[in-house]
Amino acid sequence: MSEQLHQSPGQRAWRRFKKNRPAVFGAWFLILLLAAICLWPVVLKISGSGFAKVHAPDQLSEKQFAPPSAQHWFGTDVHGRDVFSRTLYGAQISLLVGVVGAVVSLIIGVLWGAVAGYIGGRVDSVLMRIVDVLYSLPSVIFVIVLISTLGEMLKESHFIHESPNAAGALRVTLLFVGLGAISWLTMARIIRGQVLSLRSRAFVEASRTLGAGAGRIIFHHIIPNIFGVAITYVTLTMPAIILYESFLSYLGLGVEPPMASWGTLIYEGVSQINPIRIYWWLLVFPSAVLVTTLLALNFLGDGLRDAWDVKSK
């Protein structure tokens, strides 16, 4: 018991986290997925041209709609491409969209919530009324307007005509940032609540008495203390953003071919559904990887929340 008293809050959280089996499973799954994403291109490169020719994500072949086999673990699609490779390849985009979007929503949400909660008074009510208004609009309108506006701006700039590759990358980046820019509302509300309770705590009062300004208190005392809560909500925001990207791909507003995300892969699987022949592997495998990743993120998020929650000791 006495040993526990000497632990820092971070160490205590880590101990509690390690005991949470679903959360540890989630963390391991994500690590393995990341490793697979990074190593698969290396495997393709060093294993010689024969293997790479069969498995490269963009390699077309005669074997259309081959069911799963020892050679093609997840089968092949309409162009004879290896679905396993394409799923790993799509994972890059989907995970990146989740991470970048969540970080953008974290930055906006933390700043918005911290300012509202710390300054309080009229600033607080104005900032939070804005959040209320934004909550009451269907978010899809923002996304569609944002993406089409940015797309139009891109089309007009001559940058695009010079290098189409850079344009594609830029489009995806804008998509990432746009998704984050509409997902910060809940984060702002949670952070504001945390800051409200923190700002009246003794150590903040002490710092203020010593003459620290608002900026110093926010960046040195408030933000480090809400770090745990913020990280938790990042892991819970990521699934929402990954799903949003998939939804946009379904509408044709997301990632464009030849790039792929889990959303576009699942959509390809769905579009091949017909009563005569069922190509179940096109739908089932990408979906299974997506769902397992979302499960892992949720377990991880719940585990982090429980680990940082002071009350649940």
Partner: protein, 304 residues
């Protein structure tokens, strides 16, 4: 009195929301006539724009739209010019609301018992199994669930029709595909609030007085634990009643969820703004209803 004042405050909120929606769609590049079949000559385009007052400054257009709204007129769809927005809502809302209402009932009918069971058997196998399926329900997106249900229950086992919206039989798959996510959400929220309620002081007091565990959980904890579920149902119902694009598109259901997305893609200004306002009215109204339900469920809650 408190609720009258809230109702009064809702009016400016809705005005701001409608103005923002109005400004957003008008600022987006492109217009409602871009994809018309024949490339119209500049004069024709100017005439069409003049007819629908799209050549006026945006604040003037908004004023005109507000004026029409005061007699309950949402305007004419700019894409499908034989339809008014009121027509689109009158045709689509009953369908979407039926689907959403049934999905809500499904979510409650599944989520509440599972949440109760997992809370009552906390730390036992029922808790782990129920908890796992609740997270799983939250993690399966409806664009995966809908095709899977269709593949298995409509194509392999021909138990339900593949699509369309005709008989109660047609409703089963879409309702499950739409409601399962919310069932998982409700179950998770209800489990946590049941556990918190069971640990609260008034329950300990009642237990000390010798009340049985069953009465304690079902009668006293249940009522308080319902509060977080009630607050979640406000936004949940607003989402469900205004339709889901994926489900309606996939099962070929003529609801307003499809209309909202299509009109945003087509820049059908009047339809986007009308449907957004409809959603906002539902959301604000339901949140008010949630607060009112609080006073009924929890005698400690009093609004001044």
């Amino acid at each position: 009195m408190y609720f009258l004042r809230r109702l009064f405050y809702a009016v400016p909120l809705l005005l701001v929301i409608s103005a923002l929606a109005f400004a957003l769609v008008h600022l987006a590049p492109g217009g409602p006539f871009d994809s018309d079949r024949a490339p119209a000559s500049p004069e024709i385009e100017r005439n069409i724009k003049a007819k629908y007052h799209l050549d006026e400054p945006i604040w003037k257009q908004y004023g005109r739209w507000l004026g029409d709204l005061t007699h309950g007129d949402f305007g004419v769809s700019l894409k499908y010019r034989n339809f008014t927005v009121n027509d689109i809502i009158a045709q689509g809302l009953p369908v979407s609301a039926t689907l959403g209402g049934l999905a809500f009932c499904f979510a409650m009918a599944v989520g509440l018992p599972v949440g109760f069971l997992t809370a009552a058997r906390r730390g036992q196998w029922q808790d782990y199994i129920g908890g796992f399926f609740s997270v799983l329900a939250v993690c399966i997106p409806n664009f995966v669930l809908a095709p899977l249900l269709m593949l298995v229950f409509a194509m392999k086992i021909k138990l339900f029709p593949v699509a369309l919206w005709e008989s109660p039989w047609h409703m089963v798959l879409p309702v499950i595909a739409l409601g399962l996510y919310f069932a998982g959400k409700v179950s998770r929220i209800f489990r946590d609030s049941m556990i918190a309620a069971a640990q609260s002081e008034f329950i300990t007091a009642a237990r000390a007085k010798g009340l049985g565990e069953t009465t304690l959980l079902f009668k006293h904890a249940f009522r308080i634990a319902l509060l977080p579920v009630v607050s979640y149902s406000g936004p949940m119902l607003a989402d469900l009643l205004t339709g889901s694009f994926i489900i309606e598109n996939f099962f070929q259901i003529p609801g307003i969820g499809v209309s909202l997305i299509n009109s945003s893609l087509n820049r059908d200004y009047t339809v986007v703004v009308g449907l957004s306002l409809l959603y906002a009215i539902l959301l604000v109204g339901l949140n008010l209803a949630v607060d009112f339900a609080y006073t009924l469920l929890d005698p400690r809650v009093k609004y001044e």
